[in-house]
């Protein structure tokens, strides 16, 4: 209660401030909960009666069926999947790993790709990037995962450009036409909070199981940031550049082509970077709907308890992600350079030529020396079994066992299970009131109203208990993440070197395919709520740490200097200067932590939960589009409620601090 009412919203000169209304609502909720405990609350206020719940899933199914068959959408999408999309995927697959389709080339030798990647790396970012890019591909080949990696890449090179084109197109439309912007915004918010399982099923139904559906799900998943970055970039183009373009007599098309888009290059390229990263993350996850490649391999390895090999695949994915990330970021900051007059043609294109030469050299070499073309399982340097042994013996240490057992006992028996039971014991209506009160206090009236609508809808779907359990996992994990992550962030922010190190760990932890954390979690904490919370914890901690560091390090130096000159101790400086100023940024991190937790809690269904994720996972095996969608929306609505309240608060606070 106290927490709810401490944050007042500035500038609300009404009779009752949001905080006051919030306090009242929270009080009512408290009374309701009390009544429920006393057994005096009417049952229908505790949980909505079954027969009040509208059959959303059935309606949605009917709607889907109508769109799918009556309107013939499925024919169209299937045509697209089997025609153009399949063709593109086949072509890239053929080039990268020699799947026997058009144009029926031999697969490109791994050494040729590695060499070209190294040259590209050198061109974009010097030796370090060359080593990273080349090294990643060499590792992939040597560890014996070349084919899987190329299966993944073959989809990526189709999905990323398509997501880019669609994203930039929609971004331009949203920037140009207000109504498109208005229509797109809520859809984007929902898309960004929808659990990825919800993308998968419709993709399978409309686009055929396998790479086509995977590619489509990947594309949809990666589009939103491209749209946002495009719009942002176009809006930021300096008005004088625009006027210069107009005064040069550009037509609308010329303006867009020659002025706006080139001038928004940086933002658009940042969008491209995000598209690539999201595509890679999703391509791995689409293993659940039959996407071959690293993700499928990882699932198979986990399915046969091969920890070492799973870990190696995880490393490959991280390396690929880091390489793509660094290359595309280097591309963002790479500015065109002029050549001195009279530079010969070959010198102007030296990198292109060297890259081509390396490519041709290794392609030819691959024809004669098999090793340079393909490394089979037998010749690879995989250390799967050794890592298995290492992991298992680590887990067998008494100290590890003892500690985890202790944590498991305390958390499960004393914290998590009672907390869950408590949340479940709150009457639905009271629970909604609590949430609304919180949203009011944080984000003001608008957030409060949306919270009421969103959580009301969740209650109406009939998945209330599971939603509460989902929420409980999220809250527990984020709370734990704060307890651990905030001190880590505060500590790391003290020195440049530590900040860098910790951020690197964050990056790595985040790019590791999410479900790889599940196995160690289970082995340490069993199939219990603790495992679920622990596997979410890692993901939730990353943004908290990152934004804490960022927030603290970006406090204007004159303020910390002023504090130093006032004779503040380190602690005083931290508490009275740095933390208050960093708070809005940290709130953004907190928000992301919640979003990530919602994402991960769904994956944690693989450990064994009773939440929405478990039901979602079940729907994947069937054709229950309606139910799948309802469950996904439940997650999305809860996430959006938090997102809206916290972000409104952070923005208000930022404005107040003049940041």
């Amino acid at each position: 209660m106290a927490v709810l009412s401490t944050n007042s919203v500035p500038g609300e000169p009404k009779q009752y401030s949001s905080t006051q209304v919030g306090t009242w609502l929270a009080l009512i909720a408290l009374i309701m909960t009390g009544l429920q405990y006393a057994g005096m609350l009417p049952a229908l206020l505790h949980r909505l009666p079954e027969n009040w719940i509208p059959p959303f899933a059935i309606w949605l199914d009917a709607a889907f069926n109508f769109i799918r068959t009556d309107l013939g959408l499925q024919k169209l999408t299937r045509w697209f999947a089997e025609g153009p999309l399949q063709f593109m995927l086949d072509t890239t697959a053929n080039l990268l790993y020699g799947k026997k389709r058009w144009p029926r080339f031999e697969q490109i030798p791994w050494s040729a790709i590695a060499a070209s990647a190294a040259v590209l790396g050198y061109y974009l970012g010097g030796w370090r990037l060359a080593a990273l890019a080349g090294g990643t591909f060499v590792w992939t080949a040597l560890i014996g995962q070349w084919k899987d990696a190329m299966e993944t890449m073959s989809v990526l090179v189709v999905a990323a450009p398509m997501a880019f084109i669609i994203g930039i197109g929609l971004g331009i439309a949203a920037w140009k036409y207000v109504w498109v912007d208005r229509a797109i915004k809520p859809i984007l918010s929902i898309l960004q909070t929808l659990p990825f399982f919800t993308y998968l099923l419709p993709a399978v139904i409309f686009f055929k199981v396998g790479p086509t559906a995977g590619a489509v799900a990947t594309i949809i998943y990666a589009i939103p940031p491209m749209i946002l970055m495009t719009t942002l970039g176009l809006k930021k183009v300096s008005p004088e550049v625009v006027e210069a373009g107009k005064m040069s007599g550009s037509t609308r098309w010329q303006m867009l082509r020659h002025v706006y888009i080139p001038a928004a290059r940086t933002e658009i390229l940042v969008g491209v970077n995000q598209v690539i990263m999201l595509c890679l993350a999703m391509v791995v996850l689409t293993a659940f709907i039959g996407m071959p490649g690293l993700g499928a391999k990882l699932l198979a390895m986990m399915g046969s308890f091969k920890l070492g090999r799973s870990f190696e695949i995880g490393v490959t994915i991280v390396l690929l992600a880091v390489t793509l990330d660094r290359l595309s970021k280097a591309w963002v900051v790479k500015l065109p350079e002029h050549h001195e007059k009279g530079t010969p043609w070959w010198k102007r294109h030296i990198y292109l030529l060297v890259g081509l030469a390396a490519f041709v050299f290794f392609t030819v070499l691959g024809q004669f020396v098999e090793w340079f073309a393909e490394i089979g399982r037998r010749q690879s340097f995989s250390q799967g079994k050794e890592i298995d042994t290492a992991i298992k013996s680590f887990l067998a240490f008494d100290i590890v066992k003892g500690t985890t057992e202790q944590i498991r006992y305390v958390l499960n028996v004393w914290v998590l299970n009672p907390f869950r039971d408590f949340l479940l014991s709150i009457p639905t209506f009271g629970f909604i009131l609590f949430v609304v009160a919180g949203a009011l206090a944080l984000g003001g009236k608008r957030s409060g109203i949306y919270a009421a609508i969103f959580f009301g809808l969740v209650a109406l779907t009939g998945w209330w208990d599971r939603s509460v359990i989902t929420l409980y996992s999220v809250i527990s994990a984020v709370t734990l993440a704060m307890i651990i992550g905030l001190p880590v962030g505060v500590f790391a922010s003290r020195s440049e070197a530590w900040s860098r190190r910790v951020l690197l760990i964050c990056d790595t932890a985040q790019t590791f395919p999410s479900f790889i954390y599940l196995i160690p979690a289970i082995m340490l904490f069993g199939i219990t709520a603790t495992s679920v919370v622990m596997s979410i914890l890692i993901f939730a901690m990353v943004p908290l740490v990152r934004y804490t560091i960022e927030g603290l390090r970006n406090v204007p130096p004159e303020m910390t200097e002023a504090a130093d000159m006032s004779g503040a101790t380190k602690m005083q400086k931290l508490w009275s200067v740095q933390l208050p100023l960093a708070l809005p940024t940290m709130a953004v991190g907190f928000n992301q932590a919640i979003m990530f937790a919602f994402f991960m809690v769904i994956i944690a269904a693989f450990i064994g939960t009773q939440d929405l994720g478990q039901e979602l996972q079940k729907t994947l095996a069937g054709t229950d589009l309606g139910k799948n969608f309802v469950l996904g929306i439940c997650v999305s609505l809860m996430a959006l409620t938090f997102d809206m309240a916290i972000m409104t608060w952070a923005e208000g606070k930022k404005r107040m601090l003049g940041l």
Partner: protein
């Protein structure tokens, strides 16, 4: 001129049906791959046999329950491992809807039931009898289950009815559902470290036998109707009061358009039949020798030419 034309025409006419019979479609045969090793290798083995015959083959990874819907629609062409216990229901449902055909059984039996690794037996020597297991229930207790034993069942959607059986037989166990097969293995792996007694859901044939030797718990023997008629089984008022069948079938299934489109391949598929040892061997190549599935398949084919060459004729 006219004669020649007629001759040509007859020739073409005569050849046409022949070629139609002889040649399979050049479209790829789509073979689904799931997330356990034996099925993956078996799919590769069969795929390579088809390729040997001149067909083109494509593998897609699919969910093992959803696959029957895909087979029905022709998105994938066949399914090589239809387990009675795990997929019987989905398979039968698809059969009823139509579009899928039963292509016969493998010469193998499947079983899925409560299972324990051998070290458990040291702590509870009365095993494998279920009554003995129940007497040792406390050995299987965890922090969360209190004094009751914990039985780790498969994911809820596998519909293994562990809870119902515990109630029907009045056992002192609490049933916890794992979220995935991987979660089951992780638990066994964790228990292995300090040889903690554990009882989990498991099935055969699979790779686990090679990694962790173990046994199935012997419940009251399966009688037909145990899942439908309360009167059947030891508890006259409850369903699921017996163990699962100890000799479930392992079937092959195919899209009903396969016979017309790839008649040769379909003919071979009908003859294909693997035995338990053969299936175990396939799984071993991947799980123990750590080969890639396609390499494992090639190796298996090389070692067992007499087996599969016979199916080609």
């Amino acid at each position: 001129m006219k004669k020649l034309g007629t001759a040509l025409a007859t020739g073409v006419l005569a050849l046409a049906p022949l070629s139609a019979i002889a040649a399979d479609s050049s479209d790829p045969i789509v073979i689904p791959i799931h997330n356990w090793s034996s099925q993956i290798v078996m799919s590769n083995v069969v795929g390579q046999i088809f390729e040997e015959m001149g067909n083109s083959v494509e593998y897609v990874t699919t969910d093992s329950q959803a696959v029957y819907e895909s087979v029905r629609l022709g998105d994938v062409t066949l399914e090589l491992e239809v387990w009675e216990g795990a997929f019987g229901a989905s398979f039968r449902a698809a059969l009823e809807k139509g579009g899928i055909v039963d292509v016969g059984d493998h010469n193998a039996v499947t079983r899925e039931d409560w299972w324990y690794p051998m070290w458990t037996k040291d702590a509870c020597p009365g095993l494998p009898s279920w009554e003995a297991l129940n007497d040792c229930a406390e050995l299987f207790a965890t922090a969360e289950t209190g004094s009751k034993g914990r039985y780790l069942d498969g994911p809820v959607d596998w519909l293994k009815h562990g809870k119902e059986r515990v109630e029907a037989l009045g056992m002192d166990f609490e049933v916890i559902n794992a979220g995935s097969a991987a979660a089951l293995w992780a638990e066994i792996g964790a228990a292995e470290a300090d040889k903690r007694p554990i009882v989990v859901f498991n099935w055969t044939p699979n790779f686990a036998e090679a990694v962790w030797p173990g046994e199935f718990v012997e419940f009251p023997v399966w009688v037909d109707g145990c899942d439908k008629d309360p009167a059947v089984g030891p508890n006259p008022t409850a369903l699921y009061d017996c163990g699962n069948p100890a000799d479930g079938y392992l079937k092959k299934a195919a899209w009903d358009g396969m016979e017309a489109k790839w008649p040769d391949a379909y003919g071979v598929l009908e003859k294909i039949s693997f035995t338990n040892p053969q299936i175990a061997e396939m799984a071993r190549l991947v799980d123990v020798d750590e080969l890639e599935p396609d390499e494992a398949a090639a190796e298996w084919l090389e070692a067992n030419e007499d087996v599969w060459k016979a199916w080609l004729n």
